[in-house]
Amino acid sequence: MTTATQEKQAIPFSVFVLGGLTLLGLVLGIYRLAVGLGATSNLSDHYPWGLWIALDVFLIPAAGAAFTVSLISHFFGRDDYHKVLRPAVLTGLLGYASVVAILILDLGRWHQFYSILIPSRINLHSFLEEVALSVTLYTMVLILEVAPTILEKWNLRVPIRLIKRGIMIVAGIGILISTIHQSSIGSMFLILEHRLHPIWWTPILPLLFLIQALFGGIAMAAIVIKLTQQKMRMPVSENLFVAMGKLIRVLLVVYLICKVGDLLLTGELSLLFTSGVYSVLVWVELILGVLFPLGFLFSKLGKRADGVFWASVWIIVGLFFNRVSVGWIGLQAPAWATYVPHWIEIFSSVGVIAGAMLVYVIAARLFDLFPEHSHKVEGEKI
C-alpha cells in the first residue's frame, strides 16, 4: 500500500544514465558470450583471473546487506532492523544477481554452467564449487524473501501467507548458506599460497572475509537505506543508524585485531613497509576502510545518520580495495607479464551493476519497501 507522500515524480536523469549503461552492458555481455574471452578481455595464461573475479569477490560481501539485516531482525528480534528489512533484502538479491551475471561473463564454458549443480559432479573439496553452489541456492532463497513485496501489489494472499509462515526457516537457511559462502570465498584463496602475496595470504583468511561480510553488509544496508529514505522524502531512521554504527565499529575493531594480530604472530608485520605497491594497497584499505570509519563512528559523527552513512561509504571503498587486491592484484604472475582490464571487461561489469541499481530504483517506486512506515503519520520520528 503506497502512502500519500509517494507522489508521481518525473523520471530523473540518473535513471536514463543507468538505463544507458545497462543497455551497453547487455550488448557487450552478449557480444562477449558470442565471440569468447580472447577478443573481449585481456586475460592470459599468466593472468587467468582478473577484473570479473575480483568484482565477484567484492560484490558478495557487499550483497551481505540481506543476511546481516535478516539475522539481526529475525534472530535478534530487533524491530528497528525489521523495519528496513525489505530494502536490505532487495539490495542483497540484486547484489547476488550481479555476481551471477558477472560470473557467467567470466566462465569460458558458460554453456555448461549447470554442471555445478549436478550431484555426481559436485566437488565439495573445491571451495569455488561451494561458493558457486551456495550463491545459486541463496539467490533462490532471496527471491522467496523478496517475493511478498512484489506479490502484494497484486494481492496474491495465499502465496504471501505461505512464504511469511516459512520466513523464519527460509531466512535461517539463507543465513546459514551466507555464512558458509562468505567464508568460503576466503577459503578459495588458501590453496593459492604460492600465488597470493603473503601480506594478504593467511590461514585465517576465511575468518577475515566473514567479518568483512558482517560489517560490509551492514554498511551497504546503511548506505542503501539512507539514500532510499532521502530520495523518497521519508524521515530518516536516526536511531537505527546510530545502532548500526555501534555494531559496525565493534566488528571493525575485531577485524583490525585479527588482521594486524595475524601479521604480528606470523612475523609478517614488516611486510606492511617493505612490499612496495602491495604495502600501499594494504595501508589504503586499512586507513580508508577501517581507521577512518572508526574515527567517524567513535566521534560525535557516529551519533548522526549521515555520519554513519559516510563511515559506511568509506568502509565499502576499503572493502573494494581489499577484495580487488586479494582477487586480482595480489595474485602473483611473472614480472614481465601484464594485465590491464579490457574496456569490454570494464563496461560489461559497469553495465551489470548499473542494471542492479536501475532495478532497485524502479522497484522502490513500484513497490512498498517500508510497509511499517506506511502506517505512520508523516513526520513522526521512527
Binding site: V35, G36, L37, G38, A39, S44, D45, H46, P48, W49, F76, D106, L107, G108, R109, W110, H111, Q112, F113, S115, I116, I118, S120, R121, I122, N123, H125, S126, F127, L128, E129, A132, T179, S183, S187, M188, L190, I191, L192, E193, H194, P203, I204, P206, L207, L210, I211, L214, N239, V242, A243, K246, L247, V250, L251, V254, L331, P334, A335, W336
Partner: protein, 311 residues
C-alpha cells in the same frame, strides 16, 4: 647408428678446429650412447594399470624441440590456438624470466616458429609439461570434477563437465594449464600423457621423439630407481636431487638437472601436497566460525542494546 657416425665424423673434424668444445661434444656423444642403452634395457615396459610417469634428464636435453613437434603431431594441437603440451622453455638463469620465445601475448603458439629459433649459450633449456602430480591441486579445486587423476595416474580433463572457470590454472604451482582464449567455447589444455598411445602400450610421443633419450617413461617406482642410479653413477654431474620425488606431495614426472633447480624456475614446494592447504586450513577454521561468529554477534548485540538503553 648413422646419426652417431655422422656426429662422430663432424666431431672429429671440428675437434681439430675447436679443441675445448670438442671435448664437451665428445662427452655428450658418450652420454647419448649410454642413455640409448639405459633407455632400451634398464627401464622395462610399464605394467598396464600401474602408475605411469616420465623422467626428464635435463642434463641431456639439447633443446632441439623434437618433443614439442611430436606432441603437436600426436595431439593435433593447432598452431595458432595453443602451444604443444610439452613446451621447451628458455630460462634466463639470473632473472628466472621464462618464456618459450614462440608465444604471443595471450600465450598462444605462433605459426612456424617452433623449431628454428636459435638456442642461446646464456640461457637454460628445459621441457615443461604437466607433471601429473600425485595429489593434483588442479583436480582438488575443480568445481565440477572435470579435472581428475585416472587409474593410470594421468591427470585428465573431461570437457563435458568443464565450465571454464580457470581455477586449475591459478592453482597449479607450475602454471602449466593453458587456455584457448580465442575459441568461443574454450578448453583448458595440458599434457594428457598421450593416453591413447598408453592404452596401446606405447609411451608418450615426446619420449619416443627425444633423440638423446632425455625423456624416458615407465612406472614411477622404476623411474625413481633409474634416477637414483644415474645420480650414483655420475657424481658431480647432476644436482643431487630428484625433483618430483616428494615435491608438492610427489609428481609422476621426475627431473634430474645439471644446474640448481631454482635457476630453472622450479618452485620450491614442501613434501606436503599443495592441495592439503585447502583442506586443513579450511577445516580448522570451521570451529572458529561457528563458535566465534555467533559470539561476536551476541557480544555486539549486547553492547548495542546496552547503549540504546543508556541513550
Amino acid at each position: 647408428m648413422q646419426i652417431i657416425a655422422a656426429l662422430t665424423g663432424t666431431g672429429a673434424g671440428a675437434g681439430v678446429l675447436f679443441p675445448s668444445q670438442s671435448l664437451a661434444f665428445t662427452k655428450l656423444i658418450a652420454r647419448i650412447i649410454q642413455t640409448e642403452i639405459n633407455t632400451k634395457y634398464a627401464v622395462p615396459p610399464p605394467i598396464p594399470g600401474a602408475k605411469s610417469g616420465m623422467a626428464i634428464d635435463l642434463g641431456l636435453c639439447i633443446g632441439c624441440r623434437r618433443c614439442s613437434y611430436a606432441c603437436k603431431r600426436e595431439n593435433s594441437v593447432p598452431d595458432t590456438i595453443s602451444p604443444p603440451y610439452i613446451m621447451l622453455m628458455e630460462i634466463d638463469p639470473i632473472t628466472l624470466r621464462r618464456g618459450s620465445s614462440i608465444l604471443d601475448e595471450h600465450g598462444n603458439g605462433l605459426k612456424n616458429r617452433l623449431m628454428y629459433t636459435k638456442l642461446r649459450k646464456d640461457k637454460e633449456y628445459m621441457p615443461l609439461q604437466c607433471n601429473h602430480c600425485e595429489a593434483p591441486p588442479c583436480a582438488k579445486v575443480c568445481p565440477t570434477k572435470a579435472t581428475y587423476k585416472d587409474k593410470d595416474g594421468i591427470v585428465m580433463i573431461d570437457y563435458d563437465k568443464c565450465i571454464g572457470c580457470r581455477y586449475c590454472m591459478v592453482a597449479c604451482p607450475f602454471s602449466v594449464p593453458r587456455f584457448e582464449w580465442d575459441e568461443v567455447l574454450p578448453r583448458v589444455t595440458k599434457c594428457t600423457f598421450c593416453s591413447d598411445r598408453l592404452a596401446a602400450g606405447d609411451g608418450p610421443a615426446c619420449a619416443e621423439a627425444c633423440p638423446v633419450g632425455a625423456i624416458i617413461w615407465g612406472t614411477r617406482g622404476k623411474l625413481l630407481a633409474e634416477a637414483k642410479q644415474r645420480l650414483a653413477d655420475n657424481p658431480g654431474e647432476y644436482e643431487d636431487y630428484i625433483y618430483g620425488e616428494k615435491d608438492g606431495g610427489g609428481t609422476s614426472v621426475l627431473y634430474l638437472s645439471h644446474v640448481p633447480f631454482d635457476k630453472l624456475g622450479f618452485p620450491e614446494l614442501d613434501s606436503e601436497p599443495v592441495s592439503d592447504l585447502s583442506e586443513e586450513a579450511g577445516v580448522a577454521i570451521l570451529p572458529t566460525l561457528f563458535v566465534g561468529a555467533p559470539l561476536i554477534m551476541a557480544g555486539a548485540y549486547y553492547l548495542a542494546s546496552k547503549r540504546i538503553q543508556e541513550d
